[in-house]
Symmetry: C2
């Protein structure tokens, strides 16, 4: 019985320290900083291939393949940064991110899906196929920004 | 002959617009912002598994596998942000980044190598093997920060 109490106490302490470690991670300002960082990198690797889609830059398959691979990963990283706790931190996120969370999640899922599709097509697909996939990614960026991000 | 001149002129114009597109990307402040973003995300995904290595958090194989996969990609992203053009932009990068570029590149390569090794080991390796790989990543973070980043 005594052992059981001690074990319960230990597991509570371990549990609490785990939770506090997780919470230490989850300071709202830090979350906003991290989600912005993900967006900055998405912009870094989207920019050059977005310009290829719109014909502003010449098509370079090698760059598309590399950037698409990065974007398929980077597109997964912003979302846990939009925690409810960040609602009052100054950023361009509109209140709809939190009040219309289902639609926001749908928009996030769309970016993950279109970048994954792009990465797949970029691995050996034709320029026309790749450009179609690029168009879908661009649309998913724009759709979310339009509904969930304040204009500058 | 006339055609040759025209073609040369066209290729120069195309070349120039390509270069200017590349340069438009490469504003020093933007490069610094992008490299910082990569470091922020490396910190986001390293933090929780670094704490597992040091025993501050309980070991969770699932988190290690996920974060290691992200880090293997993220560790490739900061380096083109340390272009010579950023030398005078305010940041914690020490002058040695540019004056001892070979050693800096070596340190960057080490991070890419150790995170790739971690991602490999995290895919089914034992806790002991993973913790050894985590240790190597931690060392490669610290080594570079010690020599190439100003203290706060």
């Amino acid at each position: 019985m005594k052992i059981k109490v001690i074990l319960t106490a230990i597991s509570l302490i371990v549990g609490a320290s785990y939770v506090s470690a997780a919470l230490a991670q989850a300071k709202p300002e830090q979350l906003v900083k991290q989600r912005k960082a993900a967006m900055v990198l998405i912009g870094k690797y989207w920019g050059p291939i977005g310009r290829m889609e719109s014909g502003k830059s010449p098509y370079k398959a090698e760059t598309v393949t590399r950037n698409a691979g990065y974007l398929a990963v980077l597109s997964k990283l912003p979302w846990d940064g939009f925690a409810e706790s960040t609602k009052d931190v100054k950023s361009r996120a509109l209140p709809e991110v939190f009040s219309d969370a289902d639609k926001f999640k749908e928009a996030a899922d769309k970016l993950m899906k279109t970048t994954a599709a792009l990465a797949k097509v970029a691995d050996g697909g034709s320029e026309a196929e790749v450009k179609e996939a690029l168009g879908a990614v661009g649309k998913s960026c724009g759709g979310c920004h339009k509904n969930f991000r304040a204009k500058k």
